[in-house]
């Protein structure tokens, strides 16, 4: 009986250890053979992998809290810089019915829900160019009624800004001279597709230019 038991144990041992050993050897040899390709495969796979899962929802974050602050400057430390696709303010234009949520970034979600600052430009208070896009059939439809001297109001959590419209321009989407993203002076540019209230699409764009008249400057940006 004892002999039979030890024989069974030996069999179990054999049928566990040997396949395991073979498996390890096979795995090592396969790894050795495929070693030259593994690096490339991992690099390619890395292009499609991320630790952060993609958010496919059409919802957006809102960090805008209205404020009454009326100071001339605001420290960069007190400004919550918006991430792409986040609502961080509101924009309205006097003399028109433009009154929209303001987003950072001009992707699908921002333009579906309001108007968006091109992520390659700047936010208000930076002292640079603010380039805002909106659709001509929705939130920027009212730009068709804009005229020189109208006031563009932008409210953010860190301050309220006013810009005065200085002019408009009709040009094409390829005209790079329509905006200067390197300008050292704070200026606001609103743009949308053209024509308004007509079916169809063109490569024409309608630009509205405005200069800053009031609002806090963000300090401590480059320190």
């Amino acid at each position: 009986m004892k002999k039979l038991k030890s024989k069974s144990l030996k069999t179990i041992k054999k049928f566990t250890l040997y396949p395991l050993l073979l498996c390890v050897l096979m795995l090592l040899s396969l790894l050795a053979v495929s070693a030259p390709f593994i690096g490339n495969a991992v690099s390619v796979a890395g292009m499609f992998m991320s630790d952060k899962q993609v958010d496919y929802s059409k919802a957006y974050d809102n960090i805008f809290v209205p404020t009454d602050k009326d100071s001339e400057t605001v420290s960069a430390e007190d400004v919550e810089f918006p991430g792409i696709g986040k609502q961080f303010g509101e924009l309205s234009v006097s003399g028109t019915n433009v009154d929209a949520k303001l987003f950072f970034g001009d992707g699908k979600v921002p333009l579906r829900n309001g108007v968006g600052i091109y992520a390659g430009s700047f936010i208000p208070g930076y002292g640079r160019t603010i380039l805002v896009a909106g659709h001509n059939n929705t939130f920027f439809n009212g730009l068709k009624n804009v005229s020189k001297g109208d006031v563009v109001k932008i409210s953010t959590s860190y301050g309220n800004y006013k810009y005065t419209v200085t002019g408009t321009k009709l040009t094409t989407d390829e005209d790079k001279s329509a905006y200067d993203l390197n300008s050292k002076k704070e200026n606001l540019i609103l743009y949308t597709c053209y024509p308004f209230d007509s079916i169809g699409l063109t490569n024409k764009r309608f630009f509205v230019y405005a200069e800053k008249t009031s609002g806090p400057t963000i300090t401590g940006l480059y320190e």
Binding site: T11, K14, F15, Y18, P19, L20, L22, C23, L25, M26, L27, S29, L30, A45, F48, M49, S50, D51, K52, Q53, V54, Y56, K58, K108, L111, R112, H135, N136, N137, T138, T192, C193, P195, F196, D197, S198, I199, G200, L201, T202, N203
Partner: protein, 281 residues
Amino acid sequence: MKKFLSNEKVKKILYGILAFVLGLCITLGSICAILRFTVLNKGFLSDTLNNSNYYTDLCDEITDDLINLGDASGLDKSFFEGFIDEVFVREDVQDYINKFYSGEKLKVNPRHFNESLRAALDTYIQSKHMSSKDYSQSNVNYFINEATKIYTKNIELKYFDAIQNIIAKYSLRLTVALVVCCIIAVAACLVFIFTNQWKHKSIRYIAYSVGASALLTLIIPLSVYISGALNKLTIISRSLNDMYTTCLNSLLVDVMIVSGVLFIFYAALIILHNKIRTKAT
């Protein structure tokens, strides 16, 4: 030489090497067979798409993009709601898949979409009582072209052009590898059977190889699942992300099934080994 071969130790080493080769052949052959009947099989991709939310998600994404375009083209959101017909989307995607497997140039034929859009626009213009003075035909054509580009871009299965090249390059090699693995495996089994006086010994070596292959084929899907790599997949479109995740998931499940079959075979070989050994003693 005869003495050398009859030496038990040498024999064991040679059988060990043969068991190693047999195990490799079973593993590689199984992987080749899985790839042959999944990735290289048109039915696998079509079934995966049909069983996932791919088409529903795709229709939503196309509609979303078109509404965005409509916002810049004087068209209300309602114009595109329910406009995309899932039946046509399915047909166009299936046509794309057919071209993918037949090695044809991957190109979407948006004829259905184009015709439907033109018809819907005519109806819309009539319903709004617009005359030709109210809009420019060239602007409408420009819009239709842009909408068609959006539709085509969404129907195209991203990275499939690159995969098509790989498949064209390796399809035949995979089949050859499968056949070679099968031949070597059969040959190794025959060597075990006909060079062993004791049949249970030959069964034992074959069982070692099958067991090792079962373990190795289990390691591949397990390591992918444990690393959570599938959840880290990041493709910008929800439908494509779903499609790739579902395809990879099915592939890994198939590998696990093969591993399970090998484990059952392994267990059967152990039972057979014990039976033959008991009879012999």
